[in-house]
């Protein structure tokens, strides 16, 4: 053994790797080198614009020029003006409703594919992505065709005699926004939930049955908690982008369905007040992050309780 440890010492570097050449040869350096193109790209196109937006939010628009003295006035407006408060609140409520509905309708689909998809699992997943082949804009527009005054829904209901005259409450309100967004995002919620359900070891569910659980109880105590990571990511994937969604409210939202993105766009466009637009954006980002955190905590708490 003494001989062996002696040779071991000889192979060890004489001193700790502090010189530059050694670091370049290290695994850490090659790892960084490998990710650097992507990293630089992400830094340039993600962090820089965000930093610029944050910087703008503390400045003031002075007609055509920007006054670069630090001020919190934009945040006072963004948080204080009732119109922005209302818009932000409505955006949050709509996105929350959309995420809850999307996850709720997606979970059974994902569960069905994972547990009863049999040999056709891939076909099912493929079919789910089919709507995404067309443009997002077209999918939103098609809901106008479905929900409009002379649309599919109204003529259908008329023909089976459920209503006497076309409903005007289907389109151009927040419900239409919710319906359209749920449809647009369903595929993005189904996939993460499906993946997490696939990872649930089926023998765990058998073990739960063996220990006395019926099907519902084993779902609540084993399947659901173990698929929670998928539910959380589905929730976040849907919620975060929908808060700032611009196209859907613009096309199907009408006056009632206006969301914060419309106001932000107005400040960067017609309003020509970039600092206020920036402050609204930053406020939205912060609020969304806080809400996302709360949702994650709430879901985890829910699972603790059912346990």
């Amino acid at each position: 053994m003494a001989v062996l440890s002696g040779t071991g010492v000889e192979h060890r570097p004489a001193d700790p790797p502090k010189s530059r050449t050694r670091w370049i040869a290290s695994e850490e350096a090659s790892g960084l080198a490998l990710i650097s193109p992507t990293l630089l790209y992400a830094l340039a196109l993600l962090f820089l614009p965000v930093l610029i937006v944050i910087a703008y939010s503390f400045w003031t628009q002075d007609y055509l020029t920007i006054d670069r003295t630090f001020t919190l006035q934009n945040y006072r407006t963004a948080l204080g003006e009732p119109i922005y408060q209302d818009l932000l609140l409505r955006s949050l409520v709509i996105s929350l409703v959309v995420s809850v509905v999307t996850v709720t309708v997606s979970y059974p689909i994902a569960w069905f594919i994972s547990f009863h998809g049999g040999v056709h699992k891939n076909l099912w997943l493929f079919l789910i992505t089919v709507p995404c082949w067309t443009s997002y804009l077209l999918r939103v527009m098609s809901w106008k065709v479905i929900l409009g005054y002379g649309g599919v829904m109204n003529t259908g209901l008329l023909s089976i005699g459920l209503i006497d005259k076309p409903l005007t409450t289907l389109l151009y309100n927040s419900n239409a926004v919710v319906i359209t967004l749920v449809h647009s995002w369903a595929a993005f919620a189904i996939l993460p939930i499906y993946v997490s359900l696939e990872k649930v070891d089926r023998s765990l569910i058998e073990a739960a049955h063996d220990l006395g659980d019926n099907k519902l109880m084993s779902f609540l105590r084993v399947t659901l908690p173990l698929s929670l990571p998928g539910v959380i990511s589905a929730f976040l994937i849907v919620m975060i982008p929908t808060v700032g969604d611009y196209v859907t409210p613009k096309l199907v939202g009408g006056k009632d369905g206006v969301m914060i993105a419309t106001a932000i766009q107005a400040q960067f466009g017609k309003g020509a007040n970039w600092p206020l637009g920036a402050a609204l954006s930053v406020t939205t980002m912060v609020v969304v992050s806080a809400m996302a955190g709360l949702v994650v905590l709430a879901l985890q708490l829910l699972v603790k309780v059912t346990k």
């Binding site: 073990a207 063996d210 220990l211 019926n214 105590r221 908690p225």
Partner: protein
């Protein structure tokens, strides 16, 4: 066998499409018995266990547990609990919560639940690891959690699906001893599925050997090892030397045969024995043949030439070619007297006990 079995399996068939996983299986298992289902993979032993647990439903036949038919009863309403092959420890719960999982449904008061969980963990010597998560446990510890989680339910029957196959050899032998001790302590019926014949022999009160969905033989370990019914059973439980012998007389229970080199013997007739062209297959275990040293003599001996030698530490396998036998004999000899030094090519004399010869059905 007591008059009322804990488990009664009657004429159970199980088809998967046209594949017959269980073929007319009938079996009685007594209360408090340590029973093993032994067989190669795909022999139906796991399907039979899962049918008892309720995860598989027999296509035909009846299974009664403690007198009650359980056909159509879901697993959660059967008085059985199972230790799964991969242990199926809930990864989102710690050890205590895993063990308490089934108790939650019983709505015990908190103190009683804690007491039973602690007792179950103590029983498998895991009292100190209650707060650990599944991924922080070793294979042996997971196995103990699975045992505690099942035993805490106080089932009438504990089902074990290859519980030791994932453990390394040393740990497996330790757990075998523990499993046997535990079974004696709790006194409930254990049904063990295994493909390891040594495990089945060491642990069981009785063993059922299965092949191709059928039960080939049910007997005590000693009986099944020493008096296997069929050549397949004999082979599966360990090495055996087979030879063809001429049947000279046959009664209802015994047959007399004239063997090529082992003389005339009268042996028990195995179940399902049919003489083919007046011949029977006679077998003898390698360890029932003994090398005769120097001047030692035996009333029953054969002689032959060593053609090969395999060293296994405490024993050596000698392959001895006996003139007149179709196949050379395999002899398992302890190394106490130098069997590992017998040169290949030497002639040895082997002593045997005529009682060690058995007839097996083909």
């Amino acid at each position: 066998m007591p008059d009322k079995p804990m488990i009664a399996i009657e004429g159970v068939n199980k088809f998967y499409g046209i594949y017959k996983a269980l073929d007319n299986v009938s079996l009685d298992i007594a209360a408090g018995e340590f029973f093993s289902l032994l067989g190669p993979s795909g022999c139906g032993k796991t399907t039979l266990l899962r049918s008892i647990a309720g995860f598989d439903t027999p296509t035909e036949g009846d299974i009664r547990i403690d007198g009650q038919s359980v056909i159509g009863v879901p697993p959660n309403r059967r008085p059985t609990n199972m230790v799964f092959q991969n242990y199926a420890i809930f990864p989102h719960l710690n050890v205590e919560e895993n063990v308490a999982y089934g108790l939650k449904r019983l709505k015990l008061d908190a103190a009683e639940e804690r007491r039973r969980v602690a007792a179950a963990l103590e029983q498998v010597r895991l009292g100190h690891l209650g707060k650990r998560r599944a991924h922080e446990l070793s294979g042996g510890q997971r196995q103990r959690v699975a045992l505690a989680r099942a035993l805490v339910m106080r089932p009438k029957v504990l089902l074990l699906d290859e519980p030791l196959s994932a453990l390394d050899k040393k740990l497996r032998e330790e757990m075998q001893v523990e499993l046997r001790t535990l079974q004696r302590a709790v006194g409930i019926t254990f049904i063990l599925v295994t493909h390891d014949q040594y495990e089945a022999l060491a642990l069981s009160d009785r063993i059922a050997v299965m092949f191709g969905g059928q039960i080939a033989q049910v007997a005590t370990p000693k009986e099944i090892y020493q008096r296997p019914n069929t050549r397949q059973v004999a082979d599966f439980l360990g090495g055996m030397n087979f030879m063809k012998a001429r049947v000279t007389n046959e009664t209802a229970t015994r047959i007399s045969v004239e063997t090529p080199r082992f003389g005339g013997v009268t042996v028990d007739k195995p179940l399902g024995f049919v003489a083919r062209n007046g011949a029977a297959t006679i077998g003898i275990r390698p360890e029932r043949l003994r090398v005769l040293w120097d001047d030692a003599h035996s009333d029953f001996e054969v002689a032959g030439k060593v053609v090969d030698r395999h060293y296994f530490g405490e024993i050596t396998h000698l392959i001895v070619d006996i003139p007149g036998l179709e196949q050379p004999l395999s002899v398992s000899e302890t190394n106490n007297f130098g069997a590992d030094d017998i040169p290949v090519g030497d002639t040895v004399r082997l002593a045997y006990d005529p009682d060690a010869l058995v007839a097996v059905a083909d």
